[in-house]
């Protein structure tokens, strides 16, 4: 079997993988990207709307433009890219201690092995589907995830149907409401189980309100009808947490798109023995974004689902630079724990150290105006940050400088707690 030796192997060539690989290669280490599709870019390639890059490039780009900027840099770099190649298994070979082994399958390169001292997991996420939310009824054609529809319309040029209903007001669902309207379809409704939208406000305005597409908050799809192709759905209001069946109504449609959440895709990681955090469905990582396996890092949507690609790029560069330090045996700094405090659904990473600046990403459990993010350690307040508005669908990014931490440098085993109040 063909074997390739690298310092760093990056699994996935989307936004996360490209940013991480560039960072490692820049430091002079031999780096590879393994990408299952025929070109780099990942899911960005089907996101032809704009709004990408405001943080990263200080300008508004489309998804493919954003991807291209990174892909061009990869082309100019020494990063070896294995396209059309799927990593089937990740292993720690007994006869090569300190190395990781990736078994890859490809129609171009055949079956081959990559060995590397560091691995960066950047496989992204997948969409939740009908089974995950258990919608009762028949099983006709015409039901698909919003991302699949987006792919079909934007890349392959096919329209899956004409009369559309969308479940879930996540960003992909909202963007697809607009996209399907532009493709000449009638979007009859967006149905959201929560009393508030799950997508960012900009998308509610630009994708629904501008096109007068009704958004049903606190409603669920309680039944799917139709034999061969979907014909209609039954929509039921949620009243005080219970279905209000008497006020159910039928909506005719030939297509039902699901935008009901994303799940980090960690089957490969899990099989390789990487511990996963059930709160985020991604690996447990320390402040260096390193998993429980030495030399294996994670970043982007495989770690936790982001709503801005700019944050993915930033986080992935950080994973890359930590991999560099690992390769230079310079990854130091004792790790201390962080706890989610009041109204915080999760924090990534769940460790911090005193030797670097620390960057945290967190999600709120509540919708609130004039909120304050408060960082404490053992009762002592380290920092408070004001936010004019927080909501679960908008990830919060905070930076804790080394200097901020000096306030607690006297504590023997400090434990951070981040709350939203």
């Amino acid at each position: 079997m063909k074997e390739y030796l690298f310092d760093c192997a990056v699994i996935g060539g989307g936004a996360a993988g490209m940013a991480a690989a560039l960072e490692v290669e820049k430091a002079g280490f031999k780096t590879a990207i393994i990408e299952r599709e025929e070109c780099l870019g990942g899911i960005l390639l089907q996101c032809i709307h704009n709004g990408f890059g405001l943080h990263e490039f200080k300008e508004e780009l489309t998804g493919p433009e954003y991807a291209e900027r990174f892909a061009d840099k990869i082309d100019e770099s020494e990063v070896k890219v294995f396209l059309d190649s799927t990593v089937m298994e990740m292993d720690e070979p007994a006869d090569y201690p300190g190395q990781h082994e990736l078994y890859c399958y490809s129609s171009v390169y055949g079956v081959f092995v990559i060995r590397a001292r560091t691995v960066i997991l950047a496989m992204g996420c997948r969409e939740r589907n009908r089974g995950n939310i258990g919608i009762p009824g028949t099983r006709p054609s015409g039901i698909m995830t919003a991302g699949l529809a987006q792919r079909l319309v934007n890349i392959d040029g096919y329209v899956p149907g004409k009369d559309i209903v969308i479940i879930g007001s996540g960003d992909i669902g909202l963007i697809m409401a607009r996209r399907m309207t532009w493709a000449g379809c009638r979007v009859h409704a967006v149905i959201e189980i929560q009393p508030y939208p799950s997508g960012i406000t900009r998308n509610i305005v630009q994708c629904l309100e501008d096109f007068e597409i009704p958004l049903y908050l606190s409603h669920v799809v309680s039944e799917i009808r139709g034999k061969d192709r979907i014909e209609s759905i039954l929509v039921t209001p949620n009243k005080d947490g219970y279905p209000d069946e008497e006020n159910s109504f039928e909506l005719k449609c030939d297509t039902l798109l699901l935008s009901v959440g994303l799940v980090p895709e960690n089957e490969l990681s899990r099989k390789a023995g990487i511990d996963l955090n059930p709160q985020i469905n991604g690996p447990y990582v320390d402040s260096h974004l390193m998993t429980n396996k030495d030399g294996v890092f994670a970043c982007g949507n495989v770690l936790h689902v982001h709503d801005l690609v700019d944050y993915v790029s930033a986080e992935s560069r950080s994973a890359g630079s930590n991999a560099v330090k690992f390769l230079q045996s310079a990854l130091t700094g004792k790790q201390y724990s962080i706890k989610s405090g009041a109204n915080v659904r999760y924090i990534v990473p769940q460790k911090f150290n005193f030797s670097d600046d620390n960057r945290f990403y967190l999600r709120s459990m509540i919708v609130k105006n004039e909120a304050v993010v408060e960082i404490k350690a053992d009762g002592r307040t380290i920092k408070t940050i004001k936010h004019s508005h927080v909501q679960p669908s908008e990830m919060i990014s905070i930076k804790l400088k080394r200097a901020d931490l000096e306030k607690i440098s006297d504590l023997p085993d400090p434990r951070l707690e981040i709350s939203i109040i």
């Binding site: 995950n132 079909l152 149907g161």
Partner: protein, 475 residues
Amino acid sequence: MKYDVAIIGAGVSGAAIARKLSQYNLKTVLLEKEADVSFGTSKANSGIIHGGFHTSMKYLKSRLEIQGNLMFDALQRELGFPFRRCGVIVAAFREEELKHIQNLYRQGVDNGVIGIEICSRERILDIEPKLNPDVIGGLHAPNGGIIEPYRFVFSLVESARKNGVDLIVNFKVDSAERTGAKWKISSDDGQSIEAEYVINAAGLYADRVSDIFKAENFKIIPRKGEEYLLDRMSPAYPNKVIFPVPHGKTKGTLVIPTVEGTMMVGPTADEIDDKEDLTTSREHLDRIFDFSRRMVPSISERDIITSFAGLRPALASGDFYIEVSEKAENFIQVAGIQSPGLTASPAIGEYVKNLLKKLDCLLVEKKDWDPHIDKVPRMRNLSHFESEKIVEENPQFGNIICRCEKVSEGEIVEAIRRGHTTLDGVKFFTRTGMGRCQGGFCTYKTIKIIMRETGLSYEQVTKRGKNSEILMERL
């Protein structure tokens, strides 16, 4: 076209009969109303090879179950479908259930079930550690097993076709008339064939087909079963098929390890009127999970990949009805094939062959009958070194299309070449789209491969035939 024998219905019964008859110098045709074989009741089967202790030998279904069970090892060697004798258990949780266990055990012994044993609490927890520790005892039949039902049907039909049987799909029998010594059978869209002998294996519609041939009058009562498929990462995956102690007509809601590593819970059993009602409901979901968690506590709704429903074609008698018709000439009824129909199917093939003999159908064995079919490599089951060789020979096997179930382009192409040209057909043959993402990533790739291999245009590619198209317009 003129045939000696026409079999109506390409579910597991029709397929097993077709394969049996392919051994003889007969011209046989298999007629199926759907776009592919195994698209009716056999598709939504639980995939269990039963242990032969649930019913008494006074029933035909029980006799055929026991005989059928014994035939699967040889069939697997010839046809290569996924099958494993993992064994089945019946778990008792209350004192009074132990009496039922005794009865089932005695019935099993009377039926000649090899290796059947009554288990103490310790013994049953030892062979099935996933069981709720509140279990107090049970029954173990090591001869029971698990199978992929549609793959079994596909392989039977492939074998039959290889040995000369014709398959006509999208042929919905609409009328029949006896002209001379032949039946002329016409479909609802104007196709017709002629056959000397007709076998009615039409499953849910066996009663309607019987009417069309002016044969016996009976009623098929659809009994619906809902099932839930759980991710292969579920911690609840058991060693054995786990049955509750049966109460009433059915075997109850089970916990089933599938032979391909996922697991199922179900089925329910509700008699309904509508033969097309394959809906699932929230109430049943709750009931199934409440019930199955009592047997295996680690079962979680979080692991649900998908749900589906199937309809058992039951007769009021509860037994199979496999007889030569007394009213229609040269017409054999194969009706009421509910559970354990899958287990019994190879024996049904034998049984029906013998009925044909009684009707003076001349059965001469073919000299060149080949029981084997070509096996398609399954990338997920191979070692990396085995895969390497296969990919070297055909790089399409290195192109992984379905990431969840690790299915390659090569496997999809093989499915299409074997006649499975719908998305569901490809899915059942290869498992593409059957995993946790449910086709989110592979659907468009599979559609493109189907278009490339068959020459179909985008709007002709369907989920499962008829009006189940997936793409409506070109942008």
